[in-house]
C-alpha cells in the first residue's frame, strides 16, 4: 500500500515535470518565432496608426479598416459601379509583415487621403487613434496623418540631372507644401535651371502619391516609415538662436565618458613647447 502511493507520487511528479518542461520548450520556440515575425521595420500603416511597437500589440487583425477603405464611396468605379482595389492590404503569410495587420504599398495603391478618413473611426481596438487626427474643432483632419515620410534619392532623380520633371511635386495632395521646388542654376549648360524637389517633414503625411507618380524605373522618391527615414540630432546639438529648439534640450543630462586616459589632463601642446 505504501509502495503504491509512493509510486503514484513519483509518477505524478514525473508527469508534472514533463508538462512544465515541454511547456517551457514550447514557450521558447513560440516566443522566438513571434519575436522574429514582428520585426519588419519597413511597413507603412494606415493613417492615425499609433507607434509601431504599440500598434503590433493593439491591432486585433479584424480588417474593418481595409474593408472601409475598399468600400468607401470614392473608391467605386463610376464606369463599372464596382469597388476598385483598396489601399489597405491585410498582411498574408509570405508578405514578411506581421500576419493579419493592415499596411499599404504606395507603388500599388497609395493612400488617397480621404477627407472623412473611413478607415480610422471603424477601428475597434484603438490601434488607429482617432484623437491623433482630430483638429481643434474635434473634426478629422487627414493632413495630420503621419504614415511615413517621403525621401528623395537625388542620384536617380532626373530633376537632379537637369531634366525637367515635377511629377512628384504635381502629384502631392499638399501641393507646394509637403514638396517644394528649389530653383538653382544648371552650371553644366549655363542657361538652364534645376527644379529640385524638397520634402518637408513637418507637412508630408506619407501618403505615397509622389512615389506612385515618380517616372523613373524604380521610384527616386519613396515613402519610408518615419522612424526609418528620419535622423535625430540629439541633445548635443541645439539651435542656439531658436527658443523652441532650446526647449527641446531643457531636460538633457550631461554624460561623461571615462576611459583609461581620462585622468590625465589634456596635453597643452601649443603652449607647453613639448616635442611630439
Amino acid at each position: 500500500m505504501m509502495a503504491n502511493s509512493d509510486n503514484n507520487r513519483r509518477k505524478f511528479m514525473a508527469t508534472t515535470l514533463q508538462s512544465v518542461g515541454l511547456t517551457a520548450l514550447g514557450g521558447l520556440l513560440w516566443s522566438g518565432y513571434s519575436h522574429e515575425v514582428k520585426a519588419s521595420p519597413l511597413v507603412l500603416r494606415p493613417p492615425g496608426a499609433i507607434k509601431e511597437d504599440d500598434f503590433l500589440s493593439a491591432c486585433i487583425k479584424c480588417g474593418l479598416c481595409a474593408e472601409a477603405c475598399q468600400n468607401r464611396e470614392t473608391n467605386i468605379d463610376k464606369e463599372t459601379g464596382k469597388a476598385r482595389e483598396g489601399t489597405l492590404i491585410m498582411a498574408k503569410g509570405g508578405d514578411a509583415k506581421l500576419i493579419g495587420t493592415p499596411y499599404f504599398i504606395p507603388t500599388q495603391v497609395p493612400c488617397f487621403m480621404c477627407e472623412d478618413i473611413p478607415c480610422v473611426p471603424v477601428c475597434p481596438s484603438g490601434a488607429l487613434d482617432f484623437a491623433s487626427l482630430a483638429n481643434e474643432k474635434q473634426a478629422l483632419d487627414i493632413n495630420k496623418a503621419r504614415m511615413g515620410l517621403a525621401v528623395v534619392h537625388k542620384e536617380s532623380c532626373i530633376a537632379f540631372w537637369g531634366i525637367q520633371c515635377d511629377a512628384c511635386y504635381r502629384a502631392c495632395p499638399l501641393l507646394d507644401e509637403a514638396i517644394t521646388l528649389e530653383y538653382t542654376q544648371n552650371e553644366r549648360t549655363g542657361k538652364h535651371a534645376y527644379l529640385l524637389p524638397v520634402v518637408h517633414d513637418n507637412i508630408c503625411t506619407g501618403c505615397g502619391l509622389c512615389e506612385q507618380a515618380c517616372v523613373t524605373e524604380k521610384p527616386a522618391i519613396f515613402v519610408l516609415p518615419r522612424e526609418v527615414s528620419m535622423g535625430r540630432a540629439g541633445d548635443h546639438y541645439v539651435k542656439g538662436w531658436d527658443k523652441k529648439d532650446q526647449e527641446r534640450v531643457k531636460d538633457a543630462k550631461s554624460q561623461e565618458t571615462t576611459t583609461e586616459i581620462s585622468k590625465e589632463s589634456a596635453a597643452d601642446y601649443l603652449n607647453s613647447g613639448g616635442e611630439y
Binding site: 514557450g27 516566443s31 493593439a58 474593408e67 491585410m90 503569410g93
Partner: protein, 268 residues
C-alpha cells in the same frame, strides 16, 4: 437525410457566415463585417474573440471599449449555447479537420485513438496559458501570429498568400498524425471555449433506456471521452469539451441522444 441533419445545419451556418464576411469586403455588405478577431453586426453591435482579447490585454495594451464589449457579448453567447459550439458551428477549420477525420476513417488509418505520451488532450490548456505568457513577454498577441482559424478566414475574405500552407499542414497532421490532433489536442481557442462552456445551458442528453450500445456515437465524436455515460446512465453531457456538433444525435438510430436544456437543480 435524417442522419445528417445537424451536419448540414452546421455546414450551412459555417459557410453562410463566411459568405457574409466575404461580402462585407467584396461588396460592402453591412450585415457582418470584420473577422473573428473583431466583427460588427449591422454596423452597430460589436463582437470580439475572447481569447484574442485576453492576449492583447496580456501585452499590456488597453483595448478600446468596442473590443471589450464585443468579447463580453461573445462570451455570454457561448456561455448560453455551449462553449465549443463556436468550434463546430462557426470555425472554418472545423471543415478541414472534419474532412481529415472522415478520410482517416475511410482509409482505416486507425481504429482506436492512440494515447500519445507527449500529446494529451489537456495540452490545449497549457498552450492557452502559454499563449498569454508569450503575449506578455513578446508584446504581440502570440496565438494570432499562427492561428490557422483567422488565417483561413482572412484568406477567404482577403486572399490566402502563403497562409494556405498552414491549412495543408493541419490537414496532414490530423490525417496522418494525431487523430483529432488540432481541434482536440492543441487549439487554445477551443480550450478557451471549453472553459466558457463548462456551465453552459444547451447540452446533449443521453437516454440510457433507449440506447442499444451500438457505439456509433463514439465513432463519430471528435471528443468521445465526453460520451462516457453512453449505455451507462441517463445524464447530460456536461463536459465543456463537447462541441455541441450534434453528430452523435445524427448517427444515433435509437433516439437515445438529443439536445436539451441543462437543469442545474436536477444535477444536484
Amino acid at each position: 437525410m435524417k442522419n445528417i441533419k445537424y451536419l448540414l445545419l452546421r455546414r450551412v451556418t459555417q459557410i453562410g457566415l463566411l459568405v457574409l464576411y466575404f461580402g462585407a469586403n467584396a461588396y460592402g455588405w453591412n450585415v457582418l463585417a470584420g473577422t473573428f478577431g473583431s466583427s460588427l453586426i449591422l454596423g452597430t453591435i460589436p463582437l470580439a474573440d475572447p481569447y484574442t482579447t485576453l492576449q492583447v490585454l496580456a501585452t499590456g495594451f488597453v483595448l478600446g471599449a468596442d473590443v471589450l464589449l464585443g468579447a463580453l457579448i461573445v462570451t455570454f453567447f457561448y456561455f448560453v449555447v455551449g462553449g465549443r459550439a463556436f468550434c463546430s458551428w462557426v470555425c472554418p477549420i472545423n471543415m478541414v479537420t472534419d474532412l481529415a477525420n472522415w478520410l482517416r476513417r475511410k482509409l482505416h488509418l486507425d481504429k482506436e485513438e492512440v494515447n500519445y505520451r507527449f500529446l494529451k488532450r489537456n495540452a490545449r490548456y497549457w498552450i492557452m496559458g502559454l499563449g498569454l505568457v508569450v503575449s506578455a513577454v513578446v508584446g504581440i498577441a502570440a496565438f494570432e501570429v499562427l492561428s490557422p482559424i483567422t488565417i483561413m478566414q482572412r484568406g477567404i475574405i482577403f486572399g490566402f498568400g502563403m497562409g494556405f500552407a498552414v491549412l495543408v499542414a493541419i490537414f496532414l497532421f490530423d490525417l496522418f498524425g494525431v487523430k483529432n490532433g488540432w481541434c482536440g489536442h492543441l487549439c487554445p481557442l477551443g480550450a478557451t471555449y471549453s472553459l466558457i462552456g463548462k456551465a453552459s445551458l444547451i447540452r446533449v442528453d443521453h437516454n440510457h433506456e433507449a440506447c442499444t450500445n451500438c457505439m456509433a456515437c463514439k465513432v463519430v465524436c471528435p471528443e468521445n471521452h465526453v460520451l462516457h455515460m453512453v449505455n451507462k446512465e441517463s445524464i447530460m453531457v456536461t463536459n465543456g469539451e463537447c462541441t455541441n456538433c450534434g453528430r452523435c444525435i445524427d448517427v444515433c438510430n435509437d433516439d437515445a441522444l438529443n439536445f436539451s436544456i441543462r437543469n442545474y437543480f436536477k444535477e444536484k
